[in-house]
């Protein structure tokens, strides 16, 4: 029924047009907020059609669109989604609605620019997930930095300028190497189509060089140790909404890049150098978790926790070669990738929720320091219940979404290498340690700060946002099957590409 309707274009351009309208609405803050909410909701509803109309039995690109864009360089405006990108699009549209609601009264300065930046960024991020042309992908990928740069810089905290510029330059450095890699592939294949790149035969030397270009580009975004240092700064300084988008979606773009570019285009180099990524992932999982343990700033703690959790994602993606070498079964390897994908979605909900929780407290107390709190449960019982729940999910409590992804990845890793799996499992201890210790110091204990005694519990708007996230976390934790079914065929295809040599 929707076969001819350009649904993907609609989902990309609706928020961007909405953002421009919001900018035009200008000074009328009330109108701006409702307009922004309307466009975010409309986009979310439109993206639900992607789920209902999705055929999960095939790995082919669906809802495909294609039109010539720049004929001189054979660049096309071509879009399409598979089971890997579709859930991420839904995550994006869902999160943006929450971000718009959560910043309803919080943002009082330049409201229209704020809302417009988020809406435009939403469209651009969806564009990255849909793009099947490498230049189109790059345009969305790179342009997205600009609204985020402005969000951090205009509405951020004390050191916002430093954080914004660091964020921009770090990611820009990564992406220009991606551009050169893409241009090299264009030179080899005379096409910018990502699917053509997948079929391109490449020598081992070329693959290794491309591997490193992709690694730098995507590792910065994920972020992987040791190029993660922009993330804590950006998170701490960004306004709550910016942190949520950054943690919930932007980090996923890096992992998505690994799946769309690295594994299918340079499978042999990935196979050869998978130990490098596994090593970096383990460092992220173990070392960065320890770094999180000593943080005094709640946002910084969650930022480091994000890096640690994203280490699981890259681990799950690159452990597949080992599993396949040992067991020779695609199904076994699929668990690693599927676990990584579930972890991505789950982390989107959980980290977003935790940043929102910190935002709720920050709006009342104007402090992110753990030591300024204590005994919040006495004055904000509903909030405390939700925060403890999200903290448990972050620590990977069974029954929450955090458990599913981590468990699948660890299970898959055991098939590959026992010791790697043991190291990865330490996250269950460390993750619980830093999250619950923070909860203990913030939520429980005696009220020492008189300001805490004055706190008011969640209002309806905040309860709605956090409540809906809690429902998603629980739903995904108890019944992850709908998500995994959708991605199954695409993951299988991805693995086939990854294990077949291109030499």
């Amino acid at each position: 029924m929707f076969s001819d309707f350009p649904l993907l274009s609609l989902v990309i351009w609706l928020p961007i047009i909405g953002g421009l309208l919001v900018l035009a609405a200008g000074k009328n803050d009330v109108l701006v907020r409702w307009l922004a909410l309307a466009f975010a909701l409309l986009t979310f509803l439109a993206s639900l059609l992607l789920y209902t109309g999705f055929d999960s039995s095939t790995y082919q690109m669906q809802f495909a669109e294609s039109a010539s864009w720049v004929p001189t360089f054979n660049i096309h405006y071509s879009l399409g989604i598979d089971g890997i990108s579709m859930p991420l699009i839904l995550l994006t549209t869902f999160t943006t609605v929450l971000v718009v609601i959560s910043s309803w009264e919080v943002i009082q300065r330049r409201v229209s620019q704020y809302m417009a930046a988020f809406l435009i960024m939403e469209g651009l991020m969806i564009g990255v997930f849909c793009a099947l042309d490498a230049v189109l992908f790059y345009v969305f990928w790179e342009f997205m930095l600009l609204p985020m740069f402005l969000i951090i810089g205009i509405w951020g905290g004390q050191r916002r300028v430093y954080a914004a510029i660091k964020f921009f330059l770090y990611t820009f450095l990564g992406s220009v190497l991606l551009l050169v890699a893409v241009l090299y592939l264009y030179f080899q294949s005379d096409s910018f189509s990502i699917l053509d790149f997948h079929d391109l035969r490449l020598s081992m030397n070329a693959q290794i060089v491309l591997f490193f270009a992709f690694l730098i580009a995507f590792a910065v975004k994920v972020p992987m140790w040791p190029v993660h240092t922009w993330l804590p700064d950006a998170h701490v300084e960004a306004p709550t909404g910016g942190s949520v988008i950054l943690a919930a979606i932007m980090l996923k773009l890096g992992a998505y890049g690994f799946m769309r570019f690295m594994l299918p285009i340079v499978p042999d180099a990935s196979h050869e150098l998978d130990w490098l990524i596994i090593l970096l992932s383990l460092i992220a999982v173990v070392y960065v978790a320890m770094v999180a343990l000593v943080q005094e700033d709640m946002k910084k703690l969650i930022a480091y926790s994000s890096i640690s959790h994203m280490g699981f994602v890259t681990l799950g993606l690159f452990v597949v070669f080992n599993i396949f070498d040992k067991t020779n079964s695609v199904a076994g390897a699929a668990m690693g990738v599927e676990g990584a994908l579930v972890q991505m979605i789950s982390h989107g909900f959980v980290s977003g929720a935790l940043f929102l929780c910190v935002g709720v407290m920050y709006d009342r107390m104007h402090s992110r320091n753990i030591s300024d709190y204590g005994g919040v449960v006495n004055t904000m019982p509903v909030f405390s219940g939700l925060m403890v729940f999200f903290a448990m999910a972050n620590a990977g409590l069974p029954g929450t979404s955090g458990f599913v992804g981590e468990f699948m990845v660890i299970l898959a890793t055991f098939k590959a290498n026992f010791w790697v799996a043991v190291l990865a499992s330490t996250t269950l201890v460390l993750g619980a340690a830093y999250t619950l210790w923070m909860v203990k110091r913030v939520i429980f204990g005696k009220v020492t700060n008189p300001q805490v005694a004055e706190l008011k519990d969640l209002n309806a708007r905040e309860a709605l946002v956090l409540g809906s996230l809690a429902v998603m976390v629980l739903l995904l934790g108890l019944w992850p099957a709908p998500l995994i079914d959708v991605m199954h065929a695409s993951v299988g295809h991805l693995l086939e590409q990854a294990i077949s040599s291109k030499l």
Binding site: T72, E142, F143, I154, A164, L173
Partner: protein, 478 residues
Amino acid sequence: MNFEMPNFALALPEIFVLCMACIVLLVDLFVGERNRFITYLMAQATLVGAMVLTLGLSSGEVQYTFDGSFVRDTMGDVLKACIYLAVLIVFVYSRDYMRARQLFNGEYFVLGLFGVLGMMVMVSAHSLLTLYLGLELLSLCLYAMVALQRDSIAATEAAMKYFVLGSLASGILLYGMSMLYGVTGSLDIGEISAYVAQNVGDNLVLKFAIVFVVVGLAFKLGAVPFHMWAPDVYHGAATSVTIYIGTAPKIAAFAMVMRLLVDGLGGLHVEWQGMLVMLAILSLAVGNVIAIAQSNLKRMLAYSTIAHVGFLLLGVLAGTENGYASAMFYIIIYALMGLGGFGMIMLLSRAGFEADRLEDFKGLNERSPWFAFIMMILMISMAGIPVSAGFWAKLAVLQAVVRAEMVWLAVVAVIFSVIGAFYYLRIIKLMYFDKPEDTSPIKPAFDMRIVLSANGLAVLALGVFPGALSALCVEAMR
């Protein structure tokens, strides 16, 4: 020897501009201070007329006249049209700026028109002599324009430096040309090209000639290490002159590179490629790194121009039709961005206030969100971030370099463009993150407001739909 009547029709735009420049000069003597806008309108009408003539005469084929020393081809037509357009925009931006500084004299427009004539001759030159003639006509006009602000110490100093270094560069270029003449026995670019194609052997004099020619061209383009004049001249001259120097003559200089190196010495591509690689890398490095240290926007844009010249050279040195087309694409987009950048400075300036320091852009988003947005587009375009014309310009050049199997050079170029992104971001930071220091209202003239907005939006529009312009450039290089 038969005397053949040259086909004047091909040079009609040049003849028209020459006549009109003289008429404007005469008319300006008789219109008083109060009616000076007549001069302005006539200068603009001249440019529009030249545009109509050039486009009207345009045909797909290559035609020669004046005994082969003058050529009319698609590349020339496109570049000339861009030059008219650029100068037209420069005049619009300059009018109020000049008036506020008691500089609103006929000389500016007359010199500007003669400069346009020089550029047209350069673009259409097909012999060394014509090329040199055009170059000198342009250069003399530029020297005089810089010196227009005769009471300003900075301007006179800039004019002096520009004159001395420019003459030196012209001398070097001429020396190279004389060697070329000595070796090939001809001034005609076609005959030089034929000679080079036949005598591929090791010819030391020819190599020397290339060195001198390349040095001369590098001076005129402002490529490192021959860039010293650029920051001082850009800074010292009145902004209305800087914007002129920084845009249209670069297009003409690109044409000169094409005529001399590609049309004339294309057979020796391997010889000059290495030199251009050095010039390009140095320009990218020095331009981008030193721009960071600038606190004056005009100086910063001067270094940014140097970096852009590095990118331009990358396209040329690829040595393929694809590369030349992308270099042409680059220079046209560069001119458009440069116009906007200097235009913004002129927009914010007023009598007694130049608005050329970085701090003057603080908090522009609060003073005028629309023009802050325009400036942001220009800055991301100069940094090469999508969606903007500058991104496609860089993409085109880089793909040409990768196609010429010099991936390492592309990596060097992109790394320097990351360094360069910092100082463009700093402008965005000043406009959006900081509080304004200067709160006087911005009230530009109506036409300036429209043209500057169109200029910025054109950069954005070309960023979304670069196809037509890039196809045109490919067509021009066939």
